[in-house]
């Protein structure tokens, strides 16, 4: 199946000389959730803005279901829904009028049943007659999503959908995203909450300084990049790491009641077997063993630092 979104060597230099995108190529499969991760100023918003028609590209091509976003802009944009980073709503507009307007802009016939189901799905149906200025921040964000869904897009861009949103609302937003995915909508979201990418995304793309450093299956990225820690709980607490175990780079934890061994899953030899033998040789009695994986956050920080170096 050909990808729903094909970005090839996309470049954007703003007047004034800031190169926000320096040759980004990316393919997105229909129905997947792709998370774009990157620090502030990496170029995530510029990438989305360019694909959606808010910004003129300086070079490269973008195709949506085969339609070039410039030559064939009507067909391309008809398939795209955009929820920008900043909430932008007309304060006196009623929710219902807003979603109707959004649908109308796409030249589609009125379809109250569809708009009702969108509003219900986003728990906004009760608020349909409210003016947007009367709504809470979380509701406003959902109104933005409702407007983007009014024309039944096949690809939805969510630019930092949960920035500055409390934990509960974030969970709610995740549910919305997962339901949309279940309906077959392709979703590209940006975030700098790594747990969000980890929880939602099928694939993760890492953006830094206008470049897409990598795109990988979320799980594979974890496996590939993931450093793991082996936590060894001891029967008797230690004051210091025994000299015989100095080579392993062990760290004391829990007030000496545990030793932490960090190893790389990628390597052929993790050193665990030898470590366990040496622990026994050193006369340490173990109470329990557990492993934990480093979060995407740590992976990400590592990647960006590699890029800078």
């Amino acid at each position: 199946m050909s990808p729903i979104l094909e970005i090839a060597d996309l470049r954007k230099t703003f007047p004034g000389g800031v190169e926000a995108l320096s040759g980004v190529s990316l393919e997105v499969r229909e129905g997947e959730i792709l998370a774009l991760l990157g620090p502030n100023g990496a170029g995530k918003t510029t990438l989305i803005s360019t694909v959606c028609g808010l910004t003129e590209p300086s070079g490269g091509t973008v195709r949506v279901a085969g339609h070039d976003i410039q030559r064939d802009f009507r067909a391309a944009r008809a398939l795209i829904g955009l929820v920008p980073q900043e909430i932008a709503l007309e304060p006196f507009q009623r929710v219902w009028d807003g979603v109707r307007f959004s649908r109308g802009l796409f030249g589609l016939p009125r379809d109250d049943a569809h708009l009702e189901s969108v509003l219900r799905q986003l728990s906004l149906w009760e608020k349909r007659a409210a003016q947007t200025r009367e709504l809470s921040g979380g509701m406003k964000r959902r109104v933005m999503i409702a407007k983007a869904l009014a024309h039944e897009p096949r690809v939805l861009f969510l630019d930092e959908p949960t920035a500055g949103v409390d934990v509960e609302l974030r969970r709610g937003m995740w549910e919305v995203v997962e339901r949309l995915k279940a309906e077959g909508v392709t979703i590209i979201l940006t975030t700098h909450y790594l747990e969000e990418a980890e929880a939602l995304a099928d694939r993760v793309g890492v953006v830094n300084r206008g470049e897409l450093l990598l795109v990988e299956e979320t799980g594979a990225l974890m496996d590939r990049m993931g450093r793991k820690e082996l936590v060894i709980e001891l029967q008797e607490p230690l004051d210091a790491v025994p000299a015989a175990l100095a080579d392993y780079g062990l760290e004391l934890a829990e007030g000496g009641a545990a030793l932490v061994y960090t190893y790389d899953r990628r390597s052929e030899r993790t050193g665990i077997t030898r470590l366990l033998a040496d622990l026994q040789a050193a006369g340490l009695a173990l109470r329990d063993l557990s492993t934990r994986q480093s979060s995407l956050e740590e992976i990400f920080v590592g990647l960006v630092q590699e890029d800078v170096a």
Binding site: F14, S49, C52, G53, L54, T55, E56, F73, R74, A75, A76, R77, A78, I80, L82, P84, E86, A88, L89, E90, P91, F92, D97, F101, S102, R103, G104, L105, F106, G107, L108, P109, K147
Partner: protein, 253 residues
Amino acid sequence: MNAGAIWAIYRYEMGRFFRTLAQSFISPVISTSLYFVVFGAAIGSRIDEVGGVSYGAFIVPGLIMLTVMTQAITNASFGIYFPKFIGTIYEVLSAPVSFLEVVVGYVGAAATKALFIGVVIMVTASFFVDLRIAHPLPMALFLVLTCVSFALMGFIIGIWAKNFEQLQLVPLLIVTPLVFLGGSFYSISMLPQAWQTIALFNPVVYLVSGFRWSFYGMADVPVAVSLVVIAGFLALCLAAVWWIFRTGWRIRA
């Protein structure tokens, strides 16, 4: 062509107008009535007739023009500036809508509002003075052309403006003086010779003159010239809009 989008924009812009219908309606009625009290009654009692028409009736076409021009500019410039200012323009930019469709939607709505107010003033005036319309079709043509071309000008101002000051600058410093000096309340022939010559450089003089001709059959300049000037102004605004479209000037980053 995305006719649905034009309609959505038009409908939305008109919605704001109708939400404040009382205000949209009452304010021109009151200001027109005030003009009649001040100019018609106070000054008009000293100037009894201009070219065989009572002073009160004489000022009606100019008054309509004055209001229609400023309303068309204000409505169109605000109409496009506001979504730029609060950021909601993203929706229009990311929709399958061409720039010309956007223009038709916003300019069409602003012109309609100006036209509506022009008609309200005309009806209000008919209660105060004996209003005759000698040439109804040319009258309608002048009115519509003025609404459309000044709405286009307002649209361009709204695209150009980077802040509220700039938004008000052009109407305040250029349009209002031209309109007030454009012969709304007097005939050019009433001015001293030197000022008559200067007045001929003011395009608004031609619009007011032509429009007044369609009411009372009298004009400061030949009607054909008036038509050429309004058509030329319209062409100029269309050319500017076309240029903005070609270059994407101040719309997309």
